[in-house]
Amino acid sequence: MIKGIVTDIQRASVHDGPGLRTTVFFKGCPLHCDWCHNPECIAFPPQILAYPEKCIGCGMCEEGCFSGAKVPCGKEMSTDEVLSQILLDKDYYGNEGGVTFSGGEPFSQPEFLSELIDKSKAEGVHCAVETSLITYHEEILKKLDLVMADLKIWDDDLHKKHTGVSNKIIKEHFIKLNTLGIPIIARTPVIPEIEQGIEEISAFLHSLENVIQYELLPYHPLGESKRVALGQPKTEFTVPSKDYMKELEHYVFVR
C-alpha cells in the first residue's frame, strides 16, 4: 500500500471548501511563499516544531517529549490509515461536504494522492484539492469533484521573488485545467505589501468558464508561531484592513 507524509488531519473544517470537511495536510511543497501560513508543510521530510516555553526541563527528550515542547511534524501514513480518519465524519458531510487534500502541495505526492482519491470516491466521499497548480497531473485532476487553486501574483518576477517559482506554468495549468470541466475555485491571498495585480488576475480567471468562484483571502499571521517553532525568521507582512479588502471586493466573483 502506498504511504505518504501527512502533517495533520483536521476534522469539521468549514474553511476548506463547501460544507463540512476533513482536511488532510500533505507535507512538502515546491513553492516557498514568504507569507505561507502552513510553513511546516513546506519541507518534505518530517521535522520537529519546538515550543521551548512548554519545556518542563525533564531532560528526557530522547525518550519522547510529552509536554508539547517538541512536536513531531510529518507522519508517514498509509492510504488506509488516512481513509479511516476521513470516514470518521462521513455521516456529517451531507451533500456538499467531504475531504479536502491540502498542504503543502498534495500533487507533490501524486501516487499517494491518487490512491486516496480512489479510495475516498469508492466510499462516496466528495473530493477536493487545494493546489498551487505548479504541477499538472491530468489523470488525477480528472477524478476530483472540485479544485481550489491559487494564483497569487500576476507579475512573474514578483511571483518568483515571493514564491520561488515562475507563474507562467501555473497560468498554463489554469488554462488546461479549465478544459477538464471540473469546477474550480480560484483564490488569491491578499498581502498588502505586494503589488499582486489582482485586477489582472481577476480578469484572467474570469475568462475561464469553469472558474465558478474567485475568492480573496486576507493574509493572517497564524503561520508565524509555527515559523518560530521551526527556527525560521518571522515575516513582516500585515493583515489587510477591512477598507483595503472592501476596495478589492469588486474583483471577486461567483458564477
Binding site: 460544507g19 509536554s67 470518521l88 456529517y92
Partner: protein, 738 residues
C-alpha cells in the same frame, strides 16, 4: 408609541434592569434565571415552623407557608405587557437550606432567627428527625452521591387538566373528592387552601389593574389594561377560553408552582395552545402579531421548559403554524428561553432550519434539540411502556423527559460521581500486590455496585416519605389519580421510572485509557510510579504530561473511546440490574448538571493527569482540549456511542464559533450536525454560539453585558448571574471548543 416592537424594547430594558438588581439581591446563583422580579424593600414573610428542626413539612406545613409566601407577593403589572403576574420568592428559602440562602434573606434577622432550629443538618428540606438515613450517609459521602432525598418538582404536570377545569373546576374537584375520601381531610384541606390562595393572588392583580386603569390617561394603555383585567377576571375561576386567557392562566399557574417548589416543567407549547390559536383566528379576535406578543410575554414571565414540534403516536409531524410563531416570539424578546425542539425525521425540515437559524442569529443558547427516536424507543425498553406512553413523554426539563401527569421520575436529581468511584477502586488496589488494569476495573465495578445500591435505598426512602415531607400540593392538581384518590403524586404515580445520572465519564474513560496506553502497552510507566504520581498530585511534570497527553475519549477510535463504551455498558448493566420494589425502575444516563466544579473538589488526582480537586468533565462531554481542532463531529461521534438507552439522556454540549454561524452555510452545517448526531442515536444537544469578545468582556465585568445568556447545561442563564468560578468554566469550555 405603543407598538408591539416598542413595548418589547421596553420590556427587554426592564429585564436587563431586573437582572442587575437581582444579582445584587440574590448574590451569584449559578442557576436558571426563573423569570423572577426583584424583591421590594419591605417584602417580608414570617414562616410558620411545624418542626423543631427549624423547617416545615407535610400538608399543613407546606400549605400554610405557601399561603404566607404567595400572600406576601404583591401584584406585578406592567402596562407594556398584555399578561401580568411574576414571582419573587419561594418556599425553599425558608426551609433551612442555609447554604443557599439569597443575600436579601440573610438581611432579615427575624426570619434568620426562626430558621436556626435545633439540629445541625446541612439542609433541612428533609425531615431527618422523622425519616433519618444515617445508615446510608457514609456510602453516599464516599461515592459523592447526589441522593435525590428531599428533591422536589422534577416531574411534569398534565396542563390540559388545568386548561379544562380552571381554578374553579379544580376547587370543585377537590371538594367533591373530599366528600368521598373522608379519611384524607388533611390532604384536601391543604389543596383547597392552595387554590384559594392562588385565586386571591389573581384577585390582587385584578384590583391593581383596576387602580391603574383609573389613573391612566393614555387611551391605548388604558385599553390594554382593560383587556388584561378582563382576561384575569375570566380565568380567576373559569377555565381559559381564548388564546390570551390560556396564556394568562399559564402565567398565574407557573407563578404559583414556582413559589411552591420552583417547578419549571412546561408542556408542548405549540401543540397544546394550537386549538386556542386556531379558534381565535377563525373568530377574528386574534392575529399572528398579537399571538407572538402574547407568547413573548409568557416566555418573559417565566422561562419554563417548553417543547416544540415532534411527532404523534403514529409518527405524524406535530409542527404547526404556532410552532413557527413561538420561535418568532422568542426571537422578538430574546431572553433566557428554555425551548426544546423535538427532532424526528418526519418533522418539518423548514421548521428545524428556522430553529437553527435563531440559535445562530441570537447566540443566546436557545433552542436546544432532543431526539424523538432514541428517547422514545429507549423508554419503551423499560417494562410496561408502550409507544403511546413513550410519545406522550415530553422534553420539558433541564436534561430530562417526563410523561405529563403520570410519571414520578426524579430525573436530574440523582447522580453518582464515577470519578469518585474510580478513586475508591484505585485506593483499594494500592494495597494489593498484583496490580493490573483488569483488577482495577473489577474493583471499580464492585464499588459502582455498592454506590448504586445505596443510591437506590435513598430513592426508595424519598419516594416512601416524600408525601409527609414535601407533598406536591400545586403539581398534584394537574396529575392523574392524585385528587381522585386523595394521595400525593409520590404515592400514586402510574410510572416510577427514576433517572440516575453518572458524572465524570470522560475522566474515568481517559484514566483507564491512559493506564492502558502508558502502563500496559508502552510500558513507559509502572504502577508504583503511577501511585506515587497520584499521591504527590503529579509533582513529576513529565509523568503529568505523559498521562495528560494519552489518547482521549472523543478523539475518535482511541483506547479511551473504547473505555467510554465499556464504562457505559457496565453502568447500564449495573443500574438495570439493581432490584427495586413496587414496580419502580431505574434509568441510566450520563449527566453532571452544573456540578463539574463541586464534584471535582472531592476527587483525588486521577490517572488521566487531572490534579486533585480540579473539576471533573462536564456531562457526557470529553475533557476540554480533547482534540487540537476541537472538532464537534468528533465530539458528536463519541457522545453518540455512549448513549445508555432506556430514555434517559447523555447530552452533547457544544460551543460554536459565531464565525461558522454567520451565513447560511453555518446554519446548514449545524443542522446537519444535529441530524447526524440524532441518526447515530444521540439524545439531546445543547449548543452555545458565543461571541468570544463579548464573552471575555462579560467575564471581566459582567455588568457590561447583562443581556448575555449562555446555555450552562440543560438550562440557560444570564452570564452576569454566574459566580466567577462558574463563568471561568464556561469561558474555558468555549475557548477549548472553538
Amino acid at each position: 408609541m405603543y407598538s408591539y416592537a416598542e413595548r418589547l424594547k421596553a420590556l427587554r430594558e426592564t429585564k436587563i434592569e431586573h437582572t442587575l438588581i437581582k444579582k445584587e439581591q440574590w448574590g451569584y446563583t449559578n442557576i436558571d434565571d426563573f423569570g423572577t422580579v426583584p424583591i421590594s424593600p419591605d417584602y417580608e414573610v414570617e414562616p410558620w415552623y411545624n418542626s423543631t428542626n427549624g423547617s416545615f413539612y407535610g400538608f399543613d406545613g407546606m400549605c400554610e407557608n405557601f399561603v404566607r409566601v404567595i400572600n406576601a407577593h404583591e401584584p406585578y403589572v406592567d402596562p407594556n405587557e398584555m399578561l401580568c403576574g411574576r414571582w419573587r420568592d419561594m418556599l425553599v428559602n425558608y426551609r433551612g437550606d442555609v447554604h443557599f440562602l439569597p443575600e436579601w434573606l440573610k438581611k432579615k434577622p427575624k426570619t434568620m432567627e426562626l430558621m436556626k432550629g435545633v439540629t445541625s443538618q446541612w439542609s433541612k428540606r428533609w425531615d431527618e428527625q422523622r425519616f433519618p438515613y444515617d445508615d446510608l450517609k457514609p456510602l453516599q459521602k464516599k461515592y459523592n452521591i447526589v441522593t435525590g432525598i428531599d428533591s422536589d418538582s422534577h416531574l411534569t404536570c398534565d396542563f390540559t387538566i388545568g386548561f379544562e377545569l380552571g381554578w374553579g373546576g379544580l376547587l370543585e374537584k377537590v371538594r367533591k373528592y373530599r366528600e368521598i375520601n373522608t379519611d384524607k381531610k388533611d390532604f384536601y384541606d391543604a389543596e383547597e387552601r392552595c387554590i384559594l390562595a392562588i385565586m386571591d393572588f389573581i384577585q390582587r392583580h385584578i384590583d391593581k389593574i383596576k387602580e391603574m386603569i383609573a389613573g391612566e390617561t393614555n387611551p391605548e394603555i388604558k385599553k390594554n389594561l382593560e383587556t388584561m383585567c378582563q382576561a384575569c377576571e375570566n380565568v380567576k375561576y373559569d377555565p381559559p377560553k381564548t388564546f390570551h386567557e390560556v396564556c394568562q392562566w399559564t402565567a398565574f399557574r407557573n407563578c404559583a408552582s414556582r413559589i411552591y417548589t420552583r417547578d419549571g416543567s412546561g408542556f408542548p407549547l405549540d401543540v397544546l395552545l394550537y386549538p386556542y390559536y386556531e379558534r381565535d383566528v377563525k373568530a377574528g379576535i386574534l392575529d399572528d402579531e398579537t399571538a407572538k406578543f402574547l407568547i413573548a410575554n409568557l416566555l418573559l414571565i417565566d422561562p419554563h421548559f417548553y417543547q416544540l414540534s415532534g411527532v404523534d403516536e403514529n409518527d405524524r409531524d406535530l409542527t404547526n403554524h404556532l410552532s413557527y410563531l413561538v420561535l418568532d416570539a422568542a426571537d422578538s424578546i430574546d431572553i433566557a428561553c428554555n425551548l426544546t425542539v423535538r427532532w424526528h425525521e418526519n418533522c418539518d425540515k423548514n421548521f428545524m432550519k428556522k430553529a437553527v437559524y435563531y440559535l445562530c442569529k441570537n447566540k443566546n443558547g436557545w433552542p436546544r434539540f432532543c431526539n424523538d427516536a432514541s428517547l422514545c424507543e429507549g423508554y419503551m425498553k423499560n417494562e410496561g411502556i408502550d409507544k403511546k406512553t413513550a410519545r406522550e413523554r415530553v422534553a420539558v426539563g433541564c436534561n430530562w423527559m417526563c410523561v405529563p401527569g403520570k410519571e414520578f421520575p426524579m430525573n436530574d436529581v440523582v447522580k453518582i460521581n464515577i470519578a469518585k468511584v474510580l478513586d475508591e477502586a484505585l485506593k483499594d488496589m494500592k494495597e494489593e500486590e498484583n496490580k493490573s488494569i483488569d483488577r482495577l476495573f473489577e474493583l471499580y465495578e464492585e464499588h459502582l455496585k455498592k454506590a448504586i445500591e445505596v443510591t437506590a435505598a435513598g430513592i426508595n426512602l424519598h419516594i416512601e416519605h416524600q408525601w409527609e415531607v414535601t407533598p406536591e400540593l400545586i403539581m398534584n392538581l394537574f396529575m392523574k389519580n392524585t385528587i381522585e384518590k386523595g394521595l400525593d403524586i409520590s404515592q400514586c404515580a402510574e410510572l416510577y421510572t427514576v433517572g440516575i445520572d453518572g458524572a465524570g465519564l470522560a475522566i474515568v474513560a481517559d484514566s483507564f485509557g491512559a493506564i492502558e496506553t502508558r502502563i500496559v502497552n508502552e510500558k513507559l510507566l509502572s504502577w508504583d510510579q503511577l501511585y506515587e504520581a497520584l499521591d504527590d498530585n503529579f509533582a513529576n511534570e513529565r509523568i503529568h504530561a505523559m498521562m495528560q497527553s494519552a489518547p482521549k475519549y472523543c478523539q475518535g477510535g482511541t483506547v479511551s473511546d473504547a473505555w467510554a463504551k465499556r464504562l457505559t455498558d457496565s453502568w447500564v448493566k449495573a443500574i438495570k440490574g439493581q432490584k427495586m420494589p413496587e414496580g419502580r425502575q431505574l434509568i441510566p444516563g450520563w449527566f453532571s448538571w452544573a456540578r463539574a466544579i463541586e464534584y471535582g473538589a472531592t476527587v483525588g488526582a486521577t490517572p488521566n493527569g487531572r490534579r486533585k480537586g480540579e473539576p471533573i468533565s462536564h456531562g457526557a462531554n470529553p475533557v476540554p482540549g480533547f482534540r487540537k481542532d476541537g472538532a464537534p463531529t468528533a465530539q458528536s461521534n463519541g457522545i453518540a456511542s455512549i448513549q445508555c438507552g432506556y430514555g434517559n439522556a447523555a447530552p452533547l454540549q457544544i460551543e460554536f464559533d459565531p464565525q461558522i454561524a454567520l451565513d447560511e452555510k453555518g446554519v446548514d452545517v449545524i443542522l446537519n450536525l444535529i441530524e447526524t448526531h440524532f441518526k447515530q442515536g444521540g439524545t439531546l444537544i445543547n449548543i452555545n454560539v458565543l461571541d468570544k469578545e463579548k464573552l471575555l468582556e462579560a467575564h471581566q465585568d459582567p455588568s457590561k453585558h447583562p443581556d448575555l445568556v449562555v446555555r450552562v447545561t440543560g438550562f440557560t442563564a444570564y452570564f452576569a448571574s454566574l459566580s466567577p468560578e462558574f463563568r471561568q468554566l464556561v469561558v474555558d469550555r468555549f475557548l477549548e471548543g472553538i
